[in-house]
Symmetry: C2
Subunit: 167 residues, 2 copies
């Protein structure tokens, strides 16, 4: 088995030339590193929870999105930030598992709605509760006062209203 790079866009040099050496200060670097650790743990917990239900991360995310209601394939692709062609496969596998079904959209016959089945909805709910693992472990170490402070800081940081989480 060979591992060969097939195509290498000449973006590296361009990126290097465009670079504007930001070089954040020590405090900022430290916060970025800490957030990196948070990201790592959050992801690990999420994937572990999904694996408990024999779901991949992408499948779990789609199921979480469908908990809000039937959703056009296109919109799922937008939320996952991937190409629509990928969503076809992910939903196919969820359909094969009986967790999701495809419905027609009466208003626009081009669109197909992915919808969680009763079992899919149940799985999504249990999966969501499983995220309590993260809340228990690292978050649980913070007293309520600290959790409130953290909430306010994150709110201030993220500020602009964003849609409900898909990750």
């Amino acid at each position: 088995m060979f591992h060969v790079v097939k195509y290498v866009p000449a973006l590296a040099m361009l990126a290097a030339m465009t670079r504007r050496t930001p070089r954040a200060d020590a405090l900022t670097c430290e916060v970025v590193e800490l957030l990196g650790e948070v990201v790592r743990r959050y992801h690990d917990d999420y994937d572990r929870a999904a694996a408990d239900y024999a779901l991949t991360g992408a499948q779990a995310r789609v199921l979480a999105l469908l908990a809000y209601g039937p959703t056009p394939m296109r919109r799922l692709a937008d939320r996952l930030k991937c190409e629509p062609s990928n969503v076809t496969g992910i939903v196919d596998r969820l359909v094969a598992r009986g967790l999701v079904e495809r419905r027609a959209d009466e208003a626009d016959r081009r669109v197909k709605l992915a919808a969680a089945t009763a079992e899919g909805l149940r799985t999504a709910t249990e999966l969501r509760d499983s995220l309590g693992d993260f809340a228990r472990e690292p978050l649980g170490r913070l007293a309520e006062t600290d959790r409130r402070a953290l909430r306010d800081l994150l709110h201030r940081m993220l500020d602009g209203g964003t849609e409900p989480a898909a990750l």
Copy 2:
């Protein structure tokens, strides 16, 4: 093209039976959701930065690890939390790009060390600086006092000393 699920371990039912309905309080849920948003942005920024250099996320992580010095393949697998067989391919592609080279370990002739080339080291450094995108955008909205408070909260939350970040 068919998308069929080949094997479905009967873990779902087991997981459902084992579930202990933690049902975190509203404040904790809100913090978890906010952290989810942070995770999403962090990842997007990381992948975008890697893509600027025509690298995948996994390749960028390996390159970041090699910036600390030559590393046995096995150790890379441990850090990436994946099987050693995967590292072979990832390093192969980096070698094909001229960013990494394999060296023999004199002490134990079974191990092979992956080491960043001069160009690889340069790329790793630029990539690291690119994470400033995250520091600039959402983190930049916090005043220094707030960043300091955030740092302290995250420290308290993560507490136990962890190794340098690979993500």
